[in-house]
């Protein structure tokens, strides 16, 4: 009995993670393998151990507002700016970008490939009565997609469950669903390139400047959240924004393609 209590006590004792931080981030950056590549370099340069929790941008921001993280690394600029304005973040910096693309079945029944811009692409999907798989999870990608529907003056919710399929899941899960149902999906390019279950789906639309996808980095405010490991957080953020951090981000490739383009100034 005594042994059991000792085991339990050992198991439950808090880990002392002196030089470690928790980064609340997005599934797109994690699934793309960026952290697996970048973090060992960062740890070598700064000595900071980084633990990444990958959820949707909306959830990441909410988790950080509960002080369950030291840094936010997400992609929804206006939500990020609100987070900083509310005092939860020290500051926000542009870190890197890539772009969103629309993927769909190779046969492209809605002729999305001929669309003049992203808005036109969405119109073609609804007019053709094609399926569209949405994240539906308040993530950065979902926010972008909702903004595009608004701009196209289409309310997809009226077709929810029929042609507009909200998975309420991460990018990968949504891509799995979309691919299986021959649906169109808005995804960030990094997630798509690294996604291994493409089947017959391809990028059917890309290149509209409105599909720009900016990632930002925000150290969580130590005033709001006294548990923040300020020193390690600063070291992490400064390195990412530094010339060597930016170069490392730019050097990351999958299948010979660069996934993220550094643009910190």
């Amino acid at each position: 009995m005594k042994h059991l209590i000792i085991i339990a006590a050992l198991a439950l004792s808090a880990h002392s993670l002196a030089d470690s931080i928790i980064v609340q981030s997005t599934t797109s950056t994690k699934n793309s393998g960026l952290y697996d590549y970048l973090l060992p370099i960062l740890t070598k340069a700064t000595g900071v151990q980084v633990h990444v929790v990958a959820v949707g941008t909306g959830q990441a921001i909410k988790n950080a507002m509960r002080c369950d993280g030291d840094v936010l690394l997400v992609h929804a600029k206006s939500a990020e700016e609100k987070f900083v304005a509310a005092g939860f973040g020290e500051y926000r910096r542009d870190l890197m970008y890539n772009d969103f693309v629309i993927v769909g079945p190779q046969a492209d029944p809605a002729r999305v490939a001929d669309a003049s811009d992203a808005i036109d692409a969405l119109r073609r999907i609804t007019q053709a009565g094609a399926k569209f798989a949405s994240r539906g999870d308040d993530s950065g990608t979902h926010k972008k997609e909702r903004a595009l529907w608004r701009e196209a003056a289409i309310n997809p919710d009226s077709g929810s469950g029929q042609w507009y399929l909200e998975t309420g899941s991460g990018m990968g899960a949504t891509l799995n669903t979309g691919v299986s149902l021959s649906a169109y999906v808005l995804t960030d390019r990094a997630s798509w390139i690294t996604f291994a279950n493409k089947q017959d789906a391809v990028i059917v639309f890309e290149g509209d400047p409105t599909l720009f996808n900016q990632y930002g980095v925000i150290p969580v405010s130590a005033d709001k959240c006294p548990n923040v490991n300020r020193e390690a957080t600063q070291a992490f953020t400064q390195w990412l924004l530094s010339a060597s951090g930016q170069a490392a981000i730019g050097a990351y490739q999958v299948d010979g393609k660069q996934l993220f383009f550094p643009n910190a100034h």
Partner: protein, 231 residues
Amino acid sequence: MDVLAEAFRLIITLDEDLFEILWLSIRVSLIALVISVTLSLPLGTYLAITQFPGRKFCILLLNALMGMPPVVVGLMVYMLLSRSGPLGFLGLLYTPSAMIIAQVVLITPIITALAIQVIENLHQEYRDTFCSMGVTGRRAVAAYLVDARYALTTCILAGFGRAIAEVGAVIIVGGNIDHLTRVMTTAIALETSKGNLTLALSLGTVLLALSLLVNALVIGVREYAGKRQYA
């Protein structure tokens, strides 16, 4: 076929990451099991053999808790351990300890409810004999636990199975952090979301193999002990 080959390759090449994840899965679920068992068996025995007002309600509640969705348990533990929650000062969120706590909450009702059933049946059988022999209290409890040990093993295995197979709770409170809180089930979820379906299913096969091994071990011990008893 690819799946089995990949699973086999992962095991025979002693893939380092796989073993780290597998070991964490076992460690977290075993510690959760030990804690749960030390809570459930006394509680279950007490509820099985003691009459008091509200007992039926307690049992009803435990039975209902058996059906608790792991994601709800995960959320409750998350709110509790969050830095802005009542136990946030402990700094346990996103650690294996948080995962252990979630699994304890998840499986304690299961083991307790099943143990109640087992002990209750035995109690019906033994009550009169124990009464006439004057066996009461601790000695009676000890006799029940010893005589019901095989049936109780099944209860405990059910709890272990639930713990090691569960993903909804541990992914919320653990965060699926590489080299820190990634276990078999969250790794499977991650690989699925990356579209690596073959790898995901291979990991699932490895988890199934582990479950088989644990059950075979328990049954083996049981058989061996049974034989010795009559030798």
